[in-house]
Symmetry: C2
Subunit: 182 residues, 2 copies
């Protein structure tokens, strides 16, 4: 039996609201707030996600998936070196609250929930492929591996979160990009 239509709709609403709320207010925002923002009762939130931790895990998983997709898309570029740099630029520029990304990546390292593991491995794999291509093309220094790249991604997103001005962000990002060159 497939789930009821409204159930599916609500699950989506809750997940979106949670992403928003946790990005804006931090991960210790209350579940009530998520429910309110989603326009549903608290009961509904807990029916779809049995614990707050599970909800957080789903949010992080979703964010990770996006990073993975981005990286995978980039890997098909015919200028992988450029694409790798662009991955940094995009990830840092995009996220509403830039810290959110870093949190998700960090959480993936810490393993908030084993359920995240498969997605994390996917992302890792996607980044690994892109990195390897970029290195082969001579656009990225050869002495770093995936784990270093991920750490730098986290660092970059946190660094740029610490900066308000756009031009400052650009200058900060340049340090990363130049540091990544061979």
């Amino acid at each position: 039996m497939s789930p009821r239509a409204d159930a599916v709709r609500n699950r989506t609403k809750v997940l979106a609201a949670a992403d928003e709320v946790f990005a804006e207010l931090g991960t210790d925002a209350s579940t009530d707030e998520v429910a309110r923002r989603a326009g549903v009762g608290i009961g509904t939130v807990f029916r779809h996600f049995p614990t707050k931790e599970a909800l957080l895990a789903s949010v992080f998983q979703e964010r990770l998936r996006q990073v993975g997709n981005e990286a995978a898309a980039m890997a098909t570029s015919d200028d992988p070196a450029e694409a790798f740099h662009e991955l940094f630029t995009k990830l840092i520029g995009n996220s509403r609250t830039k810290q959110a990304l870093g949190e998700a990546l960090t959480a993936a390292g810490i393993d908030i929930d084993d359920a995240i593991a498969p997605v994390r491995d996917e992302v890792r794999e996607a980044i690994a492929i892109l990195l390897a291509k970029a290195q082969e093309a001579g656009g990225v220094r050869g002495d770093i591996g995936v784990d270093e790249a991920i750490a730098l991604l986290i660092g970059a997103s946190q660094a740029s979160a610490a900066v308000i001005d756009i031009s400052m962000r650009a200058r900060t990002l340049n340090v990363f990009l130049d540091g990544l060159r061979p």
Copy 2:
């Protein structure tokens, strides 16, 4: 009237315990835990620091002061370029929980408590001086300012927190150092 000797002693014990606890368990560790670790009653903690936020602010302030001292000491070096790089290396290597540093610096930006402001400005100034000297000596690229430097410090400490292995940490740090060169 100067405060009683045991009061001074206890204040110090509490502050030290808080620094330890928050570094180890994160900033949402309980005040009870701090009291326990300091070997005092909860009442004592709250007598010295009227709220948990005030306690946190004091801890961060202390950490910031250390960074400031470090930077100030470096600024007198006769090889400021090298000294600037060393600031990164030291700060990242030293802290028990590396994330603690980033937290403090970030909090200083967010201004958890106005009381931090003066110390923050001191640190900023110390870093500014060191940076200027390093740039003049041609060891650091000229297109970044203090704020970018601080953001990078935050980024570096978060990035290295995401990495377990020491040699990985070194490789990650190298990206920062190379990116900082002219």
